[in-house]
């Protein structure tokens, strides 16, 4: 790969902060005493020692009645039932797949939790077990939903809906899970001809629009779809979305369809998608997006 690479001095780096508020909340840092009394319940990011409740992470306090939690700025994904996640198959095991979902333990996708060709209510046979790798093999990306939590904190996933399943013909962006806004819907078809899946675990899947393809397709056609080429304009749009997400992430802005769409719109003033990787452009986009969001909020 040839081309111009710009490397700048650390001192000339762009400060990406887009402050949304001047009032700072109270921050807690590890080892700091939150409260001395026993009246509170110990939540995430806290621990009790010497009759005191202390913080174990650096972040802000969240208080629900008597439960005190400290939420760090970023951490690994902590799953909740119903979350939409994007994950990667790590391993094929006995009647289950191991899936990497950016949580602290690998997630599990049971063979019984996937839709297999030939009807939803079909019994799993021994053949199916032997065919597992045919459906999903190591390295495949899937979208799924958190079905339940195991006692050790690891997640059990399911893909028993048409909108979940194997992903192809797209690009994955990994962001910190804390930047993902929880929404009802995490599947969005953007107006620009790109569809995205914003996984709660911080994995974002960008692909060409595919609603027309997905409806009642036979398996063969899906295969075709995989081998279909994506037009250049689609690819450019995808890249632009991706760069917009990166710009927002660099400024630590929350991600949802609105912010991404706003960012996309703002990015259009840059002709070349490549230009969006320029730190100043990224800041510009983030700043304008924040501005737009603020406007909406004010309204």
């Amino acid at each position: 790969m040839t081309g111009h690479v710009s490397i700048r001095l650390a001192s000339e780096r762009v400060n990406h902060s887009v402050s949304s508020s001047n009032v700072l909340p109270r921050f807690y840092t590890p080892g700091e005493v939150i409260t001395g009394t026993q009246d509170f319940m110990r939540g995430h990011g806290t621990y009790a020692e010497d009759d005191c409740l202390k913080s174990s992470v650096a972040g802000v306090m969240q208080k629900v009645n008597k439960l005190i939690c400290i939420r760090p700025l970023k951490s690994r994904y902590v799953g909740e039932i119903g979350d939409v996640v994007v994950g990667r198959i790590l391993e094929v095991q006995q009647r289950r797949w191991k899936v990497e979902t950016n949580s602290r333990l690998d997630s599990v996708l049971q063979l019984s939790s996937v839709n297999l060709p030939g009807g939803e209510l079909r019994r799993r046979s021994v053949e199916d077990e032997q065919m597992m790798r045919m459906y999903l093999q190591e390295g495949d990306l899937i979208s799924a939903e958190v079905q339940s939590l195991f006692s050790d904190g690891s997640l059990s996933l399911h893909t028993r809906s048409l909108k979940y399943g194997k992903l192809s013909q797209g690009t994955l962006v990994k962001v910190f899970p804390s930047l993902i806004k929880r929404r009802k819907n995490h599947f969005h078809n953007l107006l620009c001809g790109v569809s995205i899946i914003i996984g709660n675990n911080g994995f974002i899947w960008i692909s060409p629009l595919m609603q027309d393809l997905m409806i009642e397709e036979s398996k063969d056609e899906i295969n075709n779809y995989e081998s279909q080429s994506v037009s250049k304009s689609d690819r450019e749009a995808m890249a632009r979305v991706k760069n917009c997400i990166l710009a927002l992430v660099a400024s630590k802005m929350m991600l949802d369809d609105t912010s991404i769409m706003f960012a996309y719109e703002e990015s259009l003033k840059y002709d070349s998608v490549k230009d969006l990787l320029d730190p100043e452009a990224m800041l510009d986009i983030a700043f304008l997006t924040q501005h737009k969001i603020n406007n909406i909020m004010d309204e």
Binding site: L24, G31, E49, Q62, L73, K74
Partner: protein, 250 residues
């Protein structure tokens, strides 16, 4: 008197510090996007990058149901010292350093929270000018905090040495390369200053018992001073990265 002249007759050290002064500390958290947490820290001319991955599923061989496994890797860049030298990872010195690093960090991390998980800490010394271990511990602490990994308290490390001033023993905090090379004793302490716990204690030469306490307390004071500086840096980092959504109460 034992040891070379590390203190001038005016009570200043070779680089102009007083015996109880740390070197200048500058740091930045979240320097990488790829790892879960990362930090850059420089203490004087010793500069270190630290990256933390995890906690994530532990490799089967290491997995422990007791708690999280902390896996450290210490390495030095070829250009980190005056003489350019290829430094293979996993040479004896790095291995020892990795082990010591792990000891200090394990003491700080609330390991019991994450059974069957693993945390990888990679530290790379970009420039070594004395006290590399201490700087690594401090940088790794920042990276762990950046990764949102629960800690009991800050783990800070600081070194101290001994000099003579006017016939009286005078401990020196945060020993630089010149002072290290001068051959005096170097006591390295990794501790959780807010709990007064010591996680690791190492000494390079023999030191008489009579002076041990003063040197140790000087090193501990150094740890506390470093903690204050780190804490300030963490708060600044939080203020910078903070978004409104964070305070939304669930």
């Amino acid at each position: 008197m034992p040891g070379p002249d590390l203190l001038s007759s005016q009570g200043l050290r070779l680089d102009g510090r007083r015996p109880n002064e740390l070197r200048r500390i500058r740091c930045k958290m979240g320097v990488f996007t790829q790892p879960d947490g990362s930090a850059y820290l420089e203490q004087g001319n010793t500069k270190v990058l630290a990256a933390v991955y995890g906690p994530h599923q532990a490799a089967k061989s290491k997995s422990s149901t007791e708690g999280v496994v902390v896996n450290c890797q210490y390495s030095m860049a070829t250009f980190s010292t005056g003489e350019r030298k290829n430094r293979p990872r996993g040479d004896r010195k790095s291995q020892e350093m990795s082990l010591h690093l792990r000891q200090a960090l394990t003491a700080a991390i609330k390991t019991e929270l994450y059974p069957r998980s693993q945390i990888d800490v990679y530290v790379e010394v970009l420039q070594a000018d004395g006290g590399a271990y201490c700087v690594c511990v401090n940088a790794a602490t920042l990276a762990l905090i950046d990764a949102g990994i629960p800690l009991r308290a800050y783990a800070c490390a600081c070194s101290a040495s001994m000099a003579w001033h006017g016939g009286q023993p005078e401990p020196l905090v945060d020993v630089g390369h010149v002072e290290e090379a001068a051959g005096g004793v170097v006591l390295t302490v990794a501790s959780l200053p807010s709990t007064e716990n010591i996680a690791l204690l190492e000494m390079s030469h023999r030191l008489h018992m009579d002076y041990f306490d003063v040197v140790l307390s000087r090193a501990m004071q150094g740890c506390r001073d470093i903690e204050v500086i780190l804490d300030k840096a963490v708060r600044e980092h939080l203020a910078e990265g903070w978004t409104k959504e964070d305070v939304v109460t669930i």
